[in-house]
């Protein structure tokens, strides 16, 4: 093995070693900040608010990305467009206030 090859081998090893050390140090720092400084990530799931879960109208695996426009065209209309509901007075008042501000 020539001197150059030995040098390159040592340089690669040193890079791997330093890279691994810095990576591990950054990861542990993140875990420390996560544990001691950051709190309250959301823990709510769909099951907490729905008894029946998602009912799929279409469930296709192995589609091609070009199918997206077809897929969105078929299922891309507001299914609730014509539904009318009663709105609480507080929300109506806020809407009026917003209209006046605009």
């Amino acid at each position: 093995m020539t001197q150059n090859q030995i040098f390159i081998l040592y340089a690669i090893t040193a890079f791997v070693w330093v890279f691994t050390s810095v990576s591990i140090a950054i990861f542990i720092t993140y875990r420390i900040l996560e544990k001691y400084n950051n709190y309250g990530d959301s823990s709510c799931k769909l099951d907490d608010y729905s008894m029946s879960g998602i009912k799929y109208k279409r469930s296709n695996d192995n589609v091609v990305p070009e199918e997206k426009s077809y897929h969105f065209n078929v299922f891309g209309e507001n299914p609730y467009e014509d539904r009318v509901h009663s709105i609480p007075e507080q929300l109506l008042k806020n809407s009026e206030k917003k209209d006046q501000e605009d």
């Binding site: 720092t29 400084n37 823990s43 879960g53 998602i54 997206k68 299914p79």
Partner: protein, 384 residues
């Protein structure tokens, strides 16, 4: 307005520990349901509030009794002036505070204050004077939600990993979803405060507000629908990815709609706000007034962080050097694994580095949310 003690005409304050109104003067206590404000019209849709405006961030701080507000509960600035007495719509219900101010301080202490990276000045600011209880308005909705997604995921094919595409369209019926009804609170933060347990909801009685601040709902119906759609999308997205038979599933594109069913319920939820300034920036840590859940990111001493990261790097480097010596001099026959070790370490380091950097970026994002001026700017942006 404020209800007075029937024994001594002293001011009554709601005590979360006893769930009673207590007289600060003579110590008598009463159930909120039993106390009747002689000035109040029981059948009125409205109740009286005192509104203060913060000259710094523009927030409206609302109190229901005669207590004067001395600083903004959102940004901690004392530049707050009395604006008006306002009649507000009575909410349908209220979850009274169950966590006392002392408990709230204890929960924050338990979470953050043993951490040597939290600056001493911040620890000293955790006093009863810097904590305020606010009833935050929420709308409880029942909704039908429909979403169409294009997703991608990774599947093993022999030794190779292939990216595949998936299509899903579905509908879900949701019940009792809380949606934040106030623009001052970022929806991401209010979502983190959950869960609130609706079983504790009482019929709204303004006596529960005594001793606390409140914020009335200022969102329009369209804004509520937008917030509700985002809220439902987050819940839906968490579930739809589980339906894909692949790894590292991502939603590449989606469209969705929400239909809020009749009569959303207007409820006041209890939240403790701990506001302080550090290094010229305002911070707000929130505590769920029902469960005690702490939400927020504490600032840290930069010097401590650099020392920890530097120390860990040196330590791991020392351990790695020992491993190198073992490989080099063939201790335990390790040198035969040299090439495998290099490849393995690089893969491991890349994985760990990605996780570490992604995590730190997320924590910085949360820290920005905790800095309430940023919350306010975010809210302003949403209003535009």
């Amino acid at each position: 307005m404020a209800v007075l003690c029937s024994n001594c005409s002293g001011k009554l304050i709601f005590n979360p520990a006893t769930q009673k109104l207590e007289c600060a003067n003579c110590g008598s206590f009463f159930s909120p349901e039993d106390v009747r404000d002689l000035n109040a019209d029981l059948h009125s849709k409205y109740y009286d509030t005192r509104v203060y405006i913060c000259g710094h961030c523009g927030a409206e701080v609302v109190t229901s009794d005669s207590e004067a507000s001395t600083f903004c509960v959102y940004c901690g600035n004392p530049a707050i002036v009395f604006s008006r007495i306002s009649k507000e719509y009575k909410p349908d219900g209220i979850i009274p505070f169950q966590v006392t101010k002392e408990d709230a301080i204890r929960y924050v202490k338990l979470r953050f204050l043993k951490n040597p990276m939290v600056p001493k000045e911040v620890k000293e600011k955790l006093t009863p004077g810097n904590i305020r209880g606010i009833y935050v308005p929420y709308w409880i909705i029942n909704a039908a939600f429909s979403e169409t997604d294009m997703l991608s995921g990774e599947v093993k094919n022999g030794k190779r990993t292939e990216k595949r595409w998936y299509a899903r369209a579905g509908e879900v019926k949701l019940k009792n979803v809380p949606v934040d009804g106030s623009k001052i609170l970022n929806d991401d933060i209010s979502m983190k405060l959950e869960p609130f347990y609706l079983e504790d909801t009482k019929v709204f009685d303004e006596d529960y507000l005594n001793g606390f601040y409140s914020n009335t709902s200022d969102t329009s119906y369209n804004e509520l629908r937008t917030s509700a759609a985002e809220r439902c999308h987050k819940l839906y997205a968490g579930d739809v990815v589980k339906d894909i038979p692949a790894k590292n599933v991502k939603i590449e594109d989606s469209i969705y709609w929400v239909d809020i069913q009749d009569d959303p319920i207007y409820i006041m939820m209890p939240v403790w706000f701990f506001t302080f300034k550090y290094d010229g920036k305002p911070y707000t840590i929130l505590i769920n007034g029902q469960t005690g859940k702490v939400v927020g990111t504490m600032p840290w001493k930069q010097k401590s962080l650099y020392m920890i990261t530097g120390g860990l790097t040196v330590l791991t480097l020392a351990v790695m050097s020992l491993l190198f010596v073992a490989l080099k001099y063939n201790f335990f026959g390790l040198s035969t694994f040299y090439n495998h070790a290099i490849i393995g370490l690089m893969s491991f380091a890349s994985f760990v580095l990605t996780r570490g950097i992604t995590g730190i970026v997320r924590i910085f994002k949360n820290l920005k949310l905790t800095q309430s001026e940023d919350i306010f700017k975010y809210v302003k942006k949403r209003q535009e």
